[in-house]
Symmetry: C2
Subunit: 475 residues, 2 copies
């Protein structure tokens, strides 16, 4: 689920009718401990961890700290796509910090050698959480903010980190807002077929015919592949090179499936920038494209082109540069961030999701624990440890914690891998019927559906309550 | 505070009038992950972790699991000195497991190379906790005990580990009984002079004259040392070799002070085995010896002889074999366990305790953060991180957890470094006026004071309640 956003200005994403909240983030670096869990390792030193910082709304020494637990990408991208946090900061006079996750963006512990073995070994969820714990503690001191409540925010994997910060460091974090955090399905809890079934459901919701068309197109491709009619496949999908092996076909299937995954996740009600520019309601646009084609396969090509060729400038699709296979069947993106995410999917984060062309519209593509182990051992020299996330981060056993919002959008294929029902009066599930992947974290937009406006209102009230209670307890 | 018990049979310690509970422990080994927090380190493998196990009381598949979180020593010693756990197991039909802490006893991850750099780097509190989490999870499966509640037990550092297991792994552990766990003073919270002040208080309680005599003896030693009258010091203290440097004098002071620490900690109402045999009420015996001597210095020598020369067979005291200076001013013991504890005191566990001859009866001996850093960097190539324990394990911020008993004996110099007041209805402090270091963990004895009998009763009831509640919640 790696994101590699195109850089966009915060105020590009909000309509001009909306007041301009574009925060004035300063980019800073924090001297961070390389290895929190070994005093005699190669990590016996520090690295520069990037963070963004704005105190323009802060009531110094009093207002809360809103801390974004950065996830798998460049921290600017999260800051520029999480306008809700700064809107809330203005209301609650909060200090805002966006911290970059180690091994992503510019926070590379060993520079260009970061993805060598063994240097890459210091990339774990536990190290990332300890980074944030140490950073919050030290920045509070430096800023005279010792008594300020801390609320963590995160979307997707970043939301998982927010949950984990609250459960592992309640001494440091007073509450967590986790938007679209699939804490169950990434801990090996749930069905392996759920994810692509839910991607399919989004397209089916627009029209069952859309789902059938996609399914039919993949079946046609499969028939041609079995006939080894590679020329016809190349021309139907405008591939730059003629496929020649089952590996190429597998790659093609992965690339095609990935476009649907992305459009389902990013099915926002307005135009957004992601990899390439996506139109408003991309799932609807995809279905229109799919159903208006002259034949199924070229319709499928044009549909995935919404993602891969939004400018229309690509003359052909290159199988191996547009999409990279990795240990995350929902995609690792491109560039060195993709190495980091692949490594995390090979070690702690479990995503053995499959499509099967029965409960979903995609070609049968398995990714079993065994396949994962084989791939990861070859690629990174590691053996994944199924069950580890559940042991470390409690799985669905959350009754002993408190002050967490689990928000999910019903359009988001990650939603059912998260917490969908409130677990107590302070472990709140907020479901947003018209929401895609962490829509509620984004800044307000005139095109927002009612459901996300209502969700943000509840979220805002709950966070204000946590801040108030934390202040009372510490005084 | 390292313990190196002499091996003793469980039924040696309880009087013959007490029913024989001597449990039939089987010794086993568990294939444990070497490095839980790095998939690409030198720890990319497993090691054999020892544990003791008895199911003689267990109602299979139903009775709770009582899991001792082993601390800084051979696990047999803890099993043989924690009879309360097996007494409770019989009542509650529990399975009993005593797990040995990595790098102690026979659980050496790299055999005889375990204390080399960098191999020693895998010795951390976090790794030890993860060992226990993984072991409990897997043994439950293997034994058909998936639905059995788990209660962790520990004394001293083992009690700290029990607390941490409950706060970090509530998904695995339903409650923790932490006897004499100084979770505050080892996290840098509290006064550096507290510990030796409280050792002193035990002797003062027997008689203020006793305290004055000890204080006076140390002052006399100091005067002789300043006069460089090393011959007289040798003869007064029956040293095997003539001291010749201030380092030797410092070593002598450390050795002498350590005997008082040990007698205060182990001030049990009956004879026990520890390093050498200790009489019942050793503090009282020490004061009698101290006050009945012909002169102060020989009285001091005879007093520390209660610990170092219980058999009376030592012809002289060897400064450097009876006591080893380390990063723990309360003692690291002898043998390779002492390397492990020294390393832990050099990395995570903070024990910068000082004596000053003003608030205590001992010679002025500082151990500042700076001295610690200097020593640890030279000895182990590590830089301690003050504040780390507080960040990782919450310090005194415990309001978000539950189901922990913090028991402490008023005679124990560690007591005031722990939790002395209940924090909620399920975070209970039990103070035992006549108790020394985790007396309540030991098996029942006819010489037990009323206060420890009452404490054990409360503890037993509370643990039964946790088990009952856990069973209700999981059904």
């Amino acid at each position: 689920m790696l994101f590699s956003f195109q850089r966009e200005k915060h105020n590009n994403e909000v309509s001009s009718s909306h007041r301009d909240l574009s925060p004035d983030f300063k980019e800073k670096y924090f001297k961070q401990i390389l290895d929190h869990f070994n005093f005699n390792s190669l990590g016996n030193g520090t690295f520069d961890q990037r963070y963004l910082f704005t105190d323009q709304y802060w009531k110094k020494g009093y207002g809360p700290i809103f801390f974004y637990t950065g996830n798998e990408g460049d921290i600017w991208d999260f800051a520029m796509n999480s306008g809700f946090i700064t809107e809330l900061a203005e209301v609650q006079r909060a200090l805002v910090i966006f911290a970059e996750h180690r091994y992503y963006g510019k926070s590379l512990p060993f520079g260009k050698d970061s993805f060598n073995i063994p240097q890459v070994g210091l990339l774990t969820v536990e190290q990332a959480l300890a980074d944030y714990a140490v950073m919050i503690t030290q920045l509070k001191e430096e800023l005279g903010a010792q008594s300020c409540p801390v609320i963590v925010f995160g979307g997707s994997y970043g939301g998982m980190l927010s949950v984990y910060m609250r459960i592992r460091y309640p001494n440091i974090v007073n509450g967590a807002f986790a938007a679209s955090a699939p804490i169950l399905s990434t801990a090996g809890l749930g069905e392996s077929k759920q994810f692509f079934q839910d991607v399919t459901a989004d397209f089916e919701k627009v029209s069952p015919a859309c789902r059938d068309a996609v399914k039919g197109a993949f079946q046609k491709l499969n028939t041609l592949a079995q006939q080894k009619d590679y020329r016809r496949i190349q021309s139907a999908f405008s591939l730059c090179n003629t496929p020649s092996t089952s590996k190429d076909i597998n790659q093609l299937n992965g690339l095609l499936r990935n476009a649907f995954t992305m459009m389902a996740m990013l099915d926002y009600p307005y135009r957004t920038q992601f990899m390439s520019s996506l139109p408003a309601y991309p799932v609807k646009v995809a279905c229109e494209t799919m159903l208006n084609g002259t034949d199924l396969m070229s319709a499928l090509r044009d549909t995935v082109g919404i993602l891969y060729n939004s400018t229309g400038k690509l003359a052909c699709f290159d199988l191996y540069t547009l999409y990279v296979e990795c240990a995350d069947p929902t995609g690792c993106g491109l560039g060195f961030n993709s190495y980091a995410w692949d490594y995390q999917a090979c070690t702690e984060i479990e995503m053995c999701y499959e499509s099967n062309n029965v409960t979903d519209m995609f070609p049968p593509m398995t990714f079993t624990e065994q396949q994962r182990e084989q791939y990861c051992s070859k690629r990174w020299g590691v053996v994944p440890r199924p069950g580890w996330m559940k042991t470390q981060f409690w799985g669905d056993y959350l009754s002993t914690t408190s002050n967490i919002i689990f928000s999910n959008g019903d359009l988001d294929p990650w939603a059912n891998g998260g917490i969908r029902k409130s677990l107590s009066s302070s472990l709140i599930a907020i479901n947003i019927p018209e929401g895609a992947h962490h829509l509620d974290l984004r800044g307000s937009n005139p095109a927002d559906p009612e459901s996300v406006i209502a969700a943000r209102k509840m979220e805002s009230e709950m966070i204000a309550q946590w801040v108030k209670t934390a202040r009372q307890q510490s005084s």
